[in-house]
Point group: C2
Chain length 138, copies 2
DNA sequence: TGTAATCCCTACTAAATTGATAGGGTTAAT
DNA sequence: ATTAACCCTATCAATTTAGTAGGGATTACA
């Protein structure tokens, strides 16, 4: 299941990408337009800023803006920040690898083999999709 | 994240597929061999039996057996029984479709479009993989 | 016929995660 | 100075997960 955090985060990024002028976009505006609890969204955008995907401007007339062109913002990065590891088991995670407690030899593990395939296919989607793809109104 | 339930279930199915004689396999044997808490595994195999993937024989010398050839048991079915919907959001689920509360028009939703792609890619893996693929010791 | 082995079923529980809310601190424009 | 905005921490209720407990029903076989 995709968490609300990720879903809201993706919607917010899309919103910001679509309203790209040189002015930052305020949390309140996004929250209202996308029907997201404002305080919850604040935390999400904060995470995205700390990860380097968003920049922010404080104080009056402040808000959030993209640090790169939408076409440069890959879903792999966004998903890892919002949802965590892309792999369904730690033992096939590229960025967060961890050995399983059970499983003496993961090369012989049937689950391992299957999950590598799932990971690769999902990764392929995320690598080939950018925020520009999400925000194009097709 | 893949749940322990699913992981254990897949391992157990693999184990049963590998020991396919005409004799049913006991929960205790699988639990010991695969390092799975026995009582927990009992519940999992029960679920698989109720879904029609496994059959069972009660009483002494009882146990579980596959209802079909491993090559006939598709991962789509197994995963749906163990893990639930394959889609990451209900609004792109083929078998458990549900509209989102937010999201006035899902055809315009950027998340929707992305998640359809993920679903299709994952589905492709599960459709092309059977228990036979998991249990082949390659 | 009795006993042991085995699946079957329900209920319970502790820990973790998720989705939020609360309350205020800090910064910047006017 | 005041106001509008981001920033940060703590807290909380609901849900899910992983597992345990306890026993019921069924079957093989001595």
């Amino acid at each position: 299941m995709l968490s609300k955090k990720t879903k809201y985060g993706l919607k917010a990024l899309t919103y910001i990408a679509r309203s790209q002028g040189d002015k930052p976009v305020q949390v309140a505006v996004i929250a209202k337009s996308e029907q997201i609890p404002q305080k919850f969204l604040e935390g999400i955008l904060l995470t995205l800023r700390k990860s380097g995907i968003l920049g922010s401007k404080k104080g009056k007339h402040g808000g959030y803006y993209l640090r790169n062109e939408p076409s440069e913002i890959k879903m792999t990065d966004v998903m890892r920040v919002l949802e965590g590891p892309i792999a369904m088991v730690p033992c096939v995670s590229l960025n967060y690898y961890e050995k399983c407690d059970d499983c003496p030899d993961e090369n012989l593990c049937s689950v391992h083999k299957l999950m590598i395939q799932v990971r690769d296919n999902t990764l392929q989607v995320f690598r080939n999709t950018t925020l520009a793809d999400l925000s194009n109104t097709n």
